[in-house]
Subunit: 108 residues, 2 copies
DNA sequence: ACAAACCATAACCATTCGGTTATGGTTCGA
DNA sequence: TCGAACCATAACCGAATGGTTATGGTTTGT
């Protein structure tokens, strides 16, 4: 799976434009940089840089096809963020004395 | 409820020191700025500023008590992040449901 | 009463960030 | 073949970020 540094994931998603790009890729599927640029409302180089940041977090993958590059979302890369949030789930379960009941279903 | 701007939540948690402070408050419960400063490894003003950012995201609440200020985590403020993550895939559905259930019990 | 402790804010600094325009490398279409 | 389209990178810029030290306001202990 090669999980990315969690910090990269949090950082990448801290920017609204990057979140919007990720959402768009998730909703509409694979898209070219050109299409994403029309969508994002910023310049093409800006989009390319955002995609680079998302790539560093493993949140997107790209596929070269002639002169265009297709990007697609990789929602599995959200795992570090979910893992982090899960700490609080564990904490709360413990706190509410529901630990054992839930632990059974923890591992998928 | 008074849910904070989701952007504030993402931004606040994008910094590792801030995440560490939030984690510490969650694990150990209410703490003074003094205690958090010893924990964080940065200066007291730096901690105060981080706490202000977390406050803007509603991730912490504070209580003045004489000359010290006690901060505590407000995990329910993670809700905007969970809402956002909730968009992604049936694969994660179960984990979200469990987490959200726990969150609901936090704030009746 | 007063010095010390605790905290927040101000002032400052270096770095990072998010944007731009400029440029160059491929690749496609006519 | 050759101009145009697509994309990434470079170069640059202002603003935001994360840290520092300095300062001042309360509150506490002696």
């Amino acid at each position: 799976m090669a999980q990315a540094n969690p910090n990269f994931v949090f950082r990448a998603l801290a920017d609204p434009t990057r979140r919007a790009l990720f959402e768009e890729l998730t909703r509409q599927g694979e898209q070219t940089v050109h299409a994403l640029t029309r969508y994002a409302g910023v310049s093409q180089p800006a989009v390319s840089k955002h995609l680079t940041v998302l790539k560093r977090a493993h949140l997107v993958r790209h596929r070269r096809d002639g002169r265009q590059t297709h990007y697609r979302a990789e929602p599995a890369a959200l795992a570090p963020m979910l893992d982090w949030l899960d700490q609080y789930g564990a904490f709360w379960r413990e706190r509410f004395d529901r630990l054992e009941k839930v632990l059974e279903r923890m591992e998928p």
